[in-house]
């Protein structure tokens, strides 16, 4: 059962980054991603999605630990300083591990 263990990488950030992140994920070998619209608050203040620039997204990627590490490092280096962004990983068990 251990070979179906993967990482779920979750990123909450500005909607303005969506297109850029999608390109990054493709390049960094994520096999897929899931995006949803969210709102929230963090160190950069309230982002209540009342209009475009104030909207946030949650991006989730299921992948192995190494890919999660690569992506997290890339995002941290490129976007953490200038964008509202948080990131975390958790352990999950996938069905059909060959997909991820």
């Amino acid at each position: 059962m251990e070979n179906n263990k993967r990482k779920l990488l979750t990123v909450v950030t500005e909607a303005a980054l969506e297109a850029t992140l999608i390109k990054d994920l493709d390049r960094l070998n994520a096999h897929g991603y899931t995006i949803s619209d969210v709102r929230g608050k963090g160190s950069r203040g309230v982002r209540h999605a009342d209009w475009d620039l104030n909207a946030s997204i949650r991006v989730e990627v299921v992948c192995d630990a190494a890919t999660a590490e690569t992506i997290a490092t890339h995002l941290q280096t490129h976007y953490y300083d200038n964008y509202a962004m948080i990131m975390f990983t958790s352990d999950i068990f996938v069905v059909r591990p060959e997909k991820f």
Partner: protein, 314 residues
């Protein structure tokens, strides 16, 4: 007589300041924006069909030059008088060099309800003014660095919603002509001011939400947010006079110059100059300049145009 659409803006702003739960759903705000952009484009396109396109070339060039000039003037003021970091100064300068479609629409409504004519190709100038300041802003922030991904900047800028709908509307209006458009007028002409009212209601709510940003970033932005449009309006008035525009046309051009973008430019800056703090530019453009222009600026620019026109002729 105060235009009711302005009252909708005031209603939104008051509701926002009182922290009412009133909110236009994001999809509706988008819908209203799309219809307004198309309507402005269509109307301009119909007029373009009536005259040789070539005749517009000098106006276009002059207006693009103004779009390049204004941010170059704003930048040193922000950088040295305002002591803002380079990226912030560049970004704010880009906002004020570009234009606000919402402000343009209010000016059109203002002149319309006073039956003052203006050159109907103004939407073309609106389109022409959106982009140049963005490019100037990026160069001011980065220099002419190789690192800037001009291709993706160009994509972002020229294929953004605003430009596509305005240009698309212009082309459709130009091809279809006034008779062709008759069947879609109930949506794009008759409902224009009603939709503008809803748009301004939401703009009032958004404006009220910028007050926090202003409080944090001090009085310089407030002064800049009023002084800069007044200065730009003078430049726009002068240009309008020298291009031989009518009083209505001068008013519109002054309004365009005075208005600060809050759709196209913020989106482009967020991607191209990410280290600029968007709270600053939006607090100024939305929290100060938009309400100033809508409530006081446009009547002032109109008075200025009347005076300048009379002065020149007299």
């Amino acid at each position: 007589m105060i235009d009711p659409v302005i009252l909708f803006f005031v209603l939104g702003a008051v509701a926002g300041l009182l922290r009412s739960e009133l909110r236009l759903p994001a999809a509706i705000y988008e819908f209203v924006t799309i219809v307004l952009l198309l309507a402005i484009g269509l109307k301009g396109g119909v007029e373009l069909a009536r005259q040789p396109f070539g005749a517009l070339a000098p106006q276009l060039l002059a207006v693009v030059a103004m779009g390049l000039l204004l941010p170059l003037i704003a930048f040193p003021v922000l950088r040295y008088l305002g002591r803002l970091p380079r990226a912030d100064a560049a970004s704010i300068a880009a906002h004020y060099g570009s234009v606000s479609v919402g402000t343009f629409a209010v000016a059109v409504a203002y002149l319309g309800s006073r039956q003052i004519d203006f050159e109907e190709y103004m939407p073309v100038l609106l389109v022409a003014l959106e982009v140049p300041a963005i490019l100037v802003g990026i160069v001011l922030a980065r220099g002419l660095s190789r690192q800037t991904q001009w291709k993706s900047v160009g994509h972002e800028v020229f294929l953004g919603k605003g430009i596509v709908l305005l240009l698309g509307g212009l082309l459709i209006g130009w091809i279809a002509g006034p008779d062709g458009l008759a069947s879609i007028e109930p949506l794009f002409v008759d409902l224009f001011k009603g939709f503008l009212a809803l748009f301004l209601l939401e703009m009032g709510l958004i404006t009220a939400a910028q007050v926090g940003g202003l409080r944090r970033h001090g009085p310089f932005l407030v002064i800049f947010g009023i002084a800069m449009p007044l200065f730009s309006a003078l430049v726009g008035t002068g240009l309008g006079l020298s291009l031989g525009l009518s009083v209505g046309g001068i008013t519109i051009l002054a309004t365009l110059a005075a208005s600060a973008s809050y759709i196209a430019v913020p989106a482009a800056m967020r991607i191209s100059v990410p280290e600029a703090n968007p709270t600053l530019s939006l607090a100024a453009a939305l929290g100060i300049t938009f309400p100033f222009n809508v409530l006081l600026g446009i009547p002032i620019y109109h008075a200025l145009a009347v005076w300048a026109d009379a002065f020149l002729k007299g």
